[in-house]
Structures are given as structure tokens and as C-alpha cells.
């Protein structure tokens, strides 16, 4: 058995989760605060990856990212970035694909904080950034953790998008879910089972941790 796909999967999940956190943070914060009338529209767009078939998404990524296309060639020529068949492309696609899994918990965590915390900090003359980092985020750690862990687990399980734009390059874009698919295609069911087991067990443990932790932190406030 080859461990590369497993290692690569965890690398992809880590990098994606890390970057996603910093993208989702301002977005979730904005959504939790705004009364803008376009808010439902933005919320819908953020949630689209939940309901779109990943292969559809992947196919359009392929078209958008490929250098034969205006956007893709612009990226390629001006920034020297090639998004198809590369780890960085997978990261970008995964970020888009896991976006709702990070934005939703952050947004709801911030929304559920009493507004008086935000107001109090503002009236003390603190900037929005100070308020966010010193007051709001430390008080919704559980939501942040949920977001981080869900995104991580979801990226581990990602398949359709990666299949479409990854090109199945060993050590670069061949993640575990693709490896399972490959082995199934090649009728090596035993190897597929081993990969699947590793994937299932690790996502299971990760989720169980979230729920144990959530239960625990909720219990403190339950009457």
C-alpha cells in the first residue's frame, strides 16, 4: 500500500483549512453584522457548494482555470500560476467547495453572541478589528473549532472537484478519495477498502470529537 495519497490528503486538508479560515473570518463577520439588502444573495452564493453536484462544479472550474481560457491564461501569463493539475489549484477549488462549512459556523457563532458585547467594546473606543479579535472571537471558540474541523473533514472527503481538475498526479494531486476511486476502477477492491477504512475512521473520529466537545461546552450553560 502506498501512503502518499493519505499524506497528500491531510496536507491538502490542512492548507485548505488554514487559508479558508482567514477568508471565511471577514466574510462570516460581515454577514453576522450587516443589514445590507444583498445579504441573502451572498448567503445563497456561499451555500451553493452545499447543493451543487461537485462534478458540475469541477467541470466549470476546469473550464475557468484552463489556460485556453481568458481567466486561466491571464492567471498563467501575469501571475505565473497554473491552477489545473496543480496542488495550488486543488487548494483553491477546495476552498470554494468547503466555503459554507467554515462560513456558516463562524457566522452563526458571531450572530449568537449578545450584541451588547460588540456595543460595549465600540463604546470603549475600540476599533472593529480589536473588538473582533479581543472580544468576539475568544467568546465563540467552539464555533470556530466546529468550522475548522468540519472544513478539514469535508476536504478530506472531497472527490468530484479534485477528480475534475486534479489530473491524478501522484504526490501532487492524487488524494485518498481519488486513490479509492482508482482502485475500484482497477478492480483492486482490497486496497480500496483499506483506503476507505482509513478515511472513514479518521473523519468519524474528527466528527465525534466535535460533537463531544459541543455537548460538553453546551452542558455548562444548560438548565
Amino acid at each position: 500500500m502506498n501512503w502518499d495519497p493519505i499524506i497528500l490528503t491531510f496536507q491538502l486538508a490542512s492548507v485548505t483549512t488554514f487559508l479558508l479560515f482567514f477568508i471565511a473570518l471577514p466574510l462570516g463577520y460581515w454577514l453576522s453584522q450587516t443589514k445590507n439588502k444583498f445579504k441573502p444573495l451572498i448567503e445563497t452564493l456561499v451555500s451553493m457548494p452545499l447543493v451543487l453536484p461537485p462534478t458540475v462544479l469541477g467541470f466549470y472550474f476546469l473550464i475557468a482555470f484552463s489556460p485556453g481560457n481568458a481567466f486561466g491564461s491571464w492567471l498563467n501569463e501575469w501571475l505565473g500560476i497554473k491552477l489545473v493539475f496543480s496542488f495550488s489549484g486543488l487548494v483553491i477549488a477546495s476552498i470554494l467547495y468547503s466555503l459554507p462549512f467554515m462560513v456558516h459556523p463562524i457566522q452563526s457563532g458571531l450572530t449568537n453572541l449578545p450584541t451588547s458585547l460588540h456595543d460595549a467594546s465600540t463604546l470603549m473606543g475600540k476599533s472593529k478589528t480589536t473588538t473582533l479579535f479581543k472580544v468576539l472571537l475568544p467568546n465563540c471558540k467552539a464555533s470556530l473549532l466546529t468550522g475548522i474541523i468540519l472544513s478539514f473533514a469535508h476536504t478530506i472527503g472531497e472527490f468530484g472537484v479534485v477528480l475534475m481538475i486534479g489530473g491524478n498526479i501522484p504526490g501532487e494531486t492524487k488524494v485518498a478519495s481519488i486513490a479509492i476511486y482508482d482502485e475500484v476502477e482497477a478492480l483492486n477492491y482490497n486496497t480500496a477498502n483499506v483506503y476507505s477504512l482509513i478515511l472513514c475512521v479518521s473523519t468519524f473520529l474528527i466528527l465525534l470529537f466535535v460533537y463531544l466537545q459541543n455537548g460538553g461546552s453546551l452542558k455548562k450553560y444548560r438548565r
Binding site: 456595543d119 460595549a120 463604546l123 475568544p138
Partner: protein
């Protein structure tokens, strides 16, 4: 001197509420805003502090223009330097009591002011606790101290004592009196407890359905308003005894003796034999027939 002439229509539930108020509070005065639930008290405070934008109007604090709808000027709430105590205390759960106070300091090195507050408000023993472990009364005491830590130009208190039980409430009222005596901050308190307003404030605004219906000294307002809210009678002090940290006065009224507990500062210029006026605000008597 804070001046607020503001209008705003709130469109909650079926029937929108139009708030239209004129509030003037002179420098160093303690004013109260009284009214039933839903009258618009909180909204008024939020507009003065800048957390809610009025539709029309003008708000100034001394020479400082905070809001002018004609000139389209709105000063950012974070620059208004307002000490605000919320009904739910709004202490930051992630910080200890000390860190909460420290966070509010405008000048991080002004720890002298901090320790003065901690002493004044008797917070020494709570300093290292997290807000989650405090009782309701302790929480509001810390919230008040925190609002004072930033040396505010104006103190806004939104029913800080409404959720407390009697005992903590009276204790906090004394604390508020003490604070006002010490710092002489212009203060606006929202309350729907007449006794509290009578005890604390120089001036009261009665608010009903978004309008100020009456204003003036609390005594005038509340006695002319509801006859039996206030009750006064004269008596003579026959004894003053120390009881723990308090004092117990025996007062002879008619032919009965009544015992009245008092704080040290309350009896400072009283002695046995003095004739005094004993009053109670919020007089909600029961009547029993004795002759039959």
C-alpha cells in the same frame, strides 16, 4: 450638558413606535428616564450613544456635536467616550474582572485610576475571577466599574439593576450614589423603579409611547402623579445604636417606636432628640381596620 432632540420611527411588530424626545441634562446631574416596558427608553439611550441612528435631530455634549441630521454629521460612537452599562452587564466572558477593567482603559498605563476604582467599588477579591462565576449583583458592580474605567464624558445606565434581587439592588444603588458623589459624572439612568429614581436622581423624564410626557424633580413628579406612591411622616429619634457596619435608629412616631436601619453617611449629622421626616417612596400600603 448633554442635549438630545431626536426623532426616530421604529418599525418593530405591527404598530410602529415613533420616538420623539427632547432631553437636556446639565453637567454633573443625575437624570433618570422612567417609563413602562416598550416606551422606547433603551432606544433613546442607544441613539444618544450612537448605536442607533436617529431619523432626525441634533445631539450635542457640551460644545461637542455628536449628531446633526441637517448637516449630515454623525460622530462615530467609539469617539463619543460614553460609559454604558447594559442590563445584561455585557462583561467579556473570556477576560477576568481585572482584564475587563483594563481593556476599557483609554490609557493603558493609567493603572492608578484602575486601582482607585477597584478600591472604591470593592472589587479586590473578584479581580481574578471570570464573569461566569460572579453573582448578578457582582456582575453589575464590575460593569459599572468598567464603564468608569474609561473616564467617560457621559454615563448611560440601562436598567442596570432590574434583574437583581432586593438585597443586591439596594447595595448597588448605594454604590451608584457613592460613584456619583465621587466623580460627578453627567448620568442618565433608565429605570422603571420609582423608589430607585427617587433615591438616586436629581431629575426625571417620564416617557410614554416614545414621547416625554413629564419632566422635573422626581419628588414633584411622583407625588403629584400617584398619590400613594410617596408617604412622609415626622418623628423623633430616641436612640442610635451601632449594629455591625450599620446603625439602628429608634424613632418615636405617635406612640409607637419604629426601628430604622441606616448607613454611616446617612446618620452623620443626626443625634438623639432630632425631629426627622421619615418618608418612603414607592409607598404601596396595606390598610387594616383596627377600631370596630
Amino acid at each position: 450638558m448633554i442635549k438630545a432632540h431626536i426623532e426616530k420611527t421604529l418599525k418593530a411588530s405591527e404598530n410602529p413606535l415613533k420616538i420623539d424626545v427632547k432631553i437636556h441634562v446639565s453637567r454633573g446631574m443625575f437624570a433618570s428616564l422612567y417609563g413602562a416596558s416598550g416606551a422606547g427608553k433603551t432606544s433613546t439611550l442607544r441613539m444618544i450613544s450612537g448605536l442607533l441612528k436617529p431619523d432626525h435631530g441634533l445631539i450635542t455634549n457640551h460644545e461637542d456635536l455628536w449628531f446633526d441630521s441637517n448637516k449630515n454629521i454623525t460622530k462615530n460612537p467609539k469617539h463619543r467616550n460614553i460609559g454604558y452599562v447594559f442590563q445584561d452587564s455585557a462583561l467579556f466572558p473570556n477576560m477576568t474582572v481585572f482584564e475587563n477593567l483594563e481593556y476599557a482603559l483609554t490609557n493603558k498605563r493609567d493603572t492608578k485610576h484602575l486601582y482607585q476604582l477597584i478600591k472604591l467599588m470593592k472589587l479586590d477579591e473578584l479581580c481574578n475571577q471570570k464573569p461566569g462565576t460572579l453573582s448578578g449583583g457582582q456582575k453589575q458592580r464590575v460593569a459599572l466599574a468598567r464603564a468608569l474605567a474609561q473616564k467617560p464624558a457621559l454615563l448611560l445606565l440601562d436598567e442596570p439593576l432590574a434583574a437583581l434581587d432586593n438585597e443586591s439592588r439596594v447595595e448597588l444603588q448605594d454604590c451608584l450614589l457613592q460613584v456619583h458623589k465621587t466623580f460627578r459624572l453627567t448620568t442618565l439612568l433608565v429605570s422603571h423603579d420609582i423608589a430607585e429614581i427617587l433615591k438616586l436622581s436629581d431629575q426625571v423624564f417620564v416617557m410614554d409611547h416614545g414621547k416625554i410626557t413629564q419632566q422635573g424633580s422626581p419628588k414633584t413628579i411622583f407625588t403629584q402623579n400617584s398619590l400613594n406612591e410617596n408617604f412622609e411622616i415626622t418623628g423623633e429619634i430616641s436612640k442610635i445604636e451601632r449594629q455591625g457596619i450599620q446603625f439602628c435608629m429608634t424613632v418615636r412616631i405617635q406612640n409607637t417606636s419604629v426601628k430604622i436601619m441606616a448607613k454611616k453617611f446617612e446618620i452623620e449629622n443626626l443625634k438623639v432628640g432630632d425631629e426627622i421626616l421619615v418618608g418612603t417612596k414607592n409607598f404601596n400600603p396595606f390598610v387594616l381596620k383596627t377600631s370596630d
